[in-house]
Symmetry: C2
């Protein structure tokens, strides 16, 4: 494994800052961002992770990955912030000039780091691939940088101290350089940068934050439900934030100070009491995580029979590590032929009631449960659109069935969204039916 290389500037040597908030800025480099070719998921991830620990980013910037743009943005951020987190520009190709710009700003030379070079060589050797020419560049690091090993790629992260113009409140600014690919950046940030930050820039007072995830209540209703009951705690310093996705609302409760934990716990009790069965989880938990966990806890299994969701439910369940213990499999039956053959839906049912009907949904779920041998089966059939609607069954109409050994429940929903949102919301409603049944709510 890798050594964590302690060099001058290592955080243990750094005076911990207490008593004032740390000013953090984020710089995302990438011409693809400026061209609108990709969504900036780094901004989202980093801001979220930092906020969970009580660090609020004061400014985020995105620029092209040219040395001029990077230098200009870094200089601007350094003039304002205590910590600047910069993503991208550490790859092997010739346009990855970030490391040189940073070394210049810090007044340090780039030196070849033997440990990083060895890691890069091992990386390619273990994959039986030749080490491409430019890749050795990634072993070049500013001489006094803290090197953050990259267990999911070749470019290491870097933490570099940059002196401020004298007279500033703090003597230096810390530049945190992270690799661009999310699967490299995310574990490096969680496992190395966040612990470093929390050691080096302690919160002036305890900070507690809790996100409660709910389903089935619109944001405006949730707000008017909570505003009165939470008002005393808000006066005492509680902050309440709402974040809504189609069909879902997160309630974010946070507080600072000696009583923060108590304040947030009391607020959570109020929210859970009022939102009740609509609360499905907390933090980053997804509904599929909760459903898989509940099934595992109860030793039960589930199968799926999807028409209009086209595999979305199965795909979401199998996104959860360990899903194979509770999810046996399922069928995607877009055609009527497959509904009959794979799930045993009666030809007469399809003819009399149509493929999008309560009866078909019921037979899909019951057929899947019986044939595939599971405790529960979820089935969906509906009209995702953009075409295919009728006056009686407009686009967005969907029937969702949940079969168990005791009964089969079918609900009718009208999910009038674009195709992707339709699939997501419908799969969410289906998984939520199962969650409620498993929890007995």
């Amino acid at each position: 494994m890798h050594l964590y290389i302690a060099l001058p500037g290592f955080p243990e040597n750094q005076k911990t800052v207490i008593g004032r908030g740390v000013n953090i800025e984020i710089i995302n480099t990438g011409t693809e961002l400026m061209l609108g070719e990709v969504l900036n998921t780094h901004e989202y991830f980093l801001c979220r992770r930092l906020a969970e620990k009580g660090y609020i980013v004061s400014r985020q910037s995105a620029i092209a990955d040219t040395p001029e743009a990077i230098e200009s943005a870094l200089r601007d951020a350094i003039s304002r912030a205590d910590v600047v987190i910069c993503t991208g520009g550490l790859g092997p190709t010739s346009d990855d000039m970030t490391r040189q710009v940073v070394a210049n700003l810090a007044g340090q030379s780039l030196i070849e780091n033997a440990s990083v070079l060895e890691h890069i060589e091992n990386w390619f050797a273990s994959r039986n691939r030749p080490c491409p020419p430019g890749t050795r560049n990634q072993a070049l690091v500013p001489e006094h940088a803290i090197v953050l090993p990259n267990s999911h790629g070749t470019a290491p992260g870097l933490i570099i101290e940059v002196s401020r113009p004298h007279g500033a409140a703090m003597a230096s600014v810390w530049l945190v350089m992270l690799p661009g690919p999310p699967r490299e950046l995310r574990p490096m940030f969680d496992d190395q940068v966040l612990p470093w930050l929390m050691r080096s820039f302690k919160q002036p007072a305890p900070f507690v934050c809790r996100t409660i995830r709910t389903i089935g209540i619109p944001e405006s209703i949730m707000q008017s439900l909570l505003i009165g009951p939470l008002s005393d705690l808000v006066r005492a310093g509680l902050e309440v934030g709402y974040c809504s996705r189609p069909g879902e609302v997160d309630v974010r409760l946070s507080a600072r100070g000696e009583n923060a934990a108590l304040t947030v716990a009391e607020a959570e009790k109020i929210v859970v009491g009022l939102a009740g069965e609509h609360v499905y989880g907390s933090g980053d938990e997804r509904l599929e995580d909760v459903v898989v966990r509940e099934l595992a806890r109860l030793g039960k299994t589930v199968v799926t029979a999807e028409s209009c969701t086209g595999g979305r439910i199965a795909n979401r369940l199998t996104d959860v590590p360990g899903a194979s213990a509770v999810f046996l499999g399922g069928a995607v039956t877009y055609s009527n032929e497959l509904k009959k053959m794979v799930l045993g839906v009666q030809a007469e049912t399809l003819q009399v009631h149509g493929a999008v009907s309560e009866q078909t949904a019921r037979e899909m779920a019951e057929g899947a449960r019986k044939r595939f041998g599971a405790d529960y089966a979820l089935a969906t059939t509906g009209i995702a659109g953009p075409s295919g609607g009728t006056p009686a069954k407009p686009v967005g109409t969907v029937f969702i069935a949940l079969a168990s050994d005791r009964s089969t429940i079918v609900v009718r929903q009208l999910n009038q969204f674009d195709r992707d949102t339709f699939k997501q919301v419908t799969s969410q409603q289906a998984l939520d039916m199962l969650r409620r049944q498993l929890r007995g709510v």
Copy 2:
């Protein structure tokens, strides 16, 4: 309908800038961005729309929607840019101070705009809803602003001229203020802001841009493949950009000037010639779009038999409108029991070769094709991880099969990624096998 209000500063009165590129910055306001509660889709949308017309954003910033943060970010951007596009902060609530900050920066008073007020009142009247108290604030606009009617909401957009310190190359900076909700911002930008920009800041010369999407060549190999053959065109002004996702690389070709179209067309010919069968599409096309379109063109059908991808392939195919014409359905067979029952995989095959094997993949594909009655069948079986690997079949091992009426092809891949990327890359490889077969490459 709304009147487009011509006031001093209206673009027709403005000297059109030709001969140099226009420097555009974007500022996204919103505390929810700084807390990582939402993805910044405005950045993506605006950068993309602008790039399509040859305007490259030089910097994007996000800040909380406090008057101080907004003023500071606006001042910084004004000192650098010719056009500053600012999103959010125009709503009715008391923390929407953006309009006051902007009026101050422009040295203008806020006045109540009668046309906007009428629109707001009609908006609520036509919905039989009372006009909430703060909403009248949205009719307050800087006295010389160009008002952009909002046909999807109440807050108008604004274009405001701000004088520069004298001595600057251009006498003024243009601030474009847009409402935060995407369904209001997007049509306003497309229908009003972009035409204004193209009238006011004409491109110095024609601009042509083309993105070619490839699969199966790593970015570094793609670069070394293209760098020589494209070098003459690059010297003549061609710009080449690369954007990689796991397993895929986009090559973006752009040029300006009288010969732009010719230059880009020649470059495209070279890229397509060299990347050959690895080119699957262009522009925004996804692989699943191409596969569904090719199947439809040939009048062929496909079914899926997924183990380790857990429904990802079916889900991707059914994300394409009209998929039902070519996709009959599929099975997600996580358990061995379902592989045997639904797909007819032999018990002996599973026992002798294991569920993750060439033989099982082959029988899954052939069973699905025959039983479900399709022209093609795709099957996957592998170890997504994080656990379940063996020395002979480590985590990431996957067998992908494509069955047709002529033959069954099985490939073995080693996709050593996190679970989500594993599923995405494996589904990508499977869809690409089908694409190649359909195109005969």
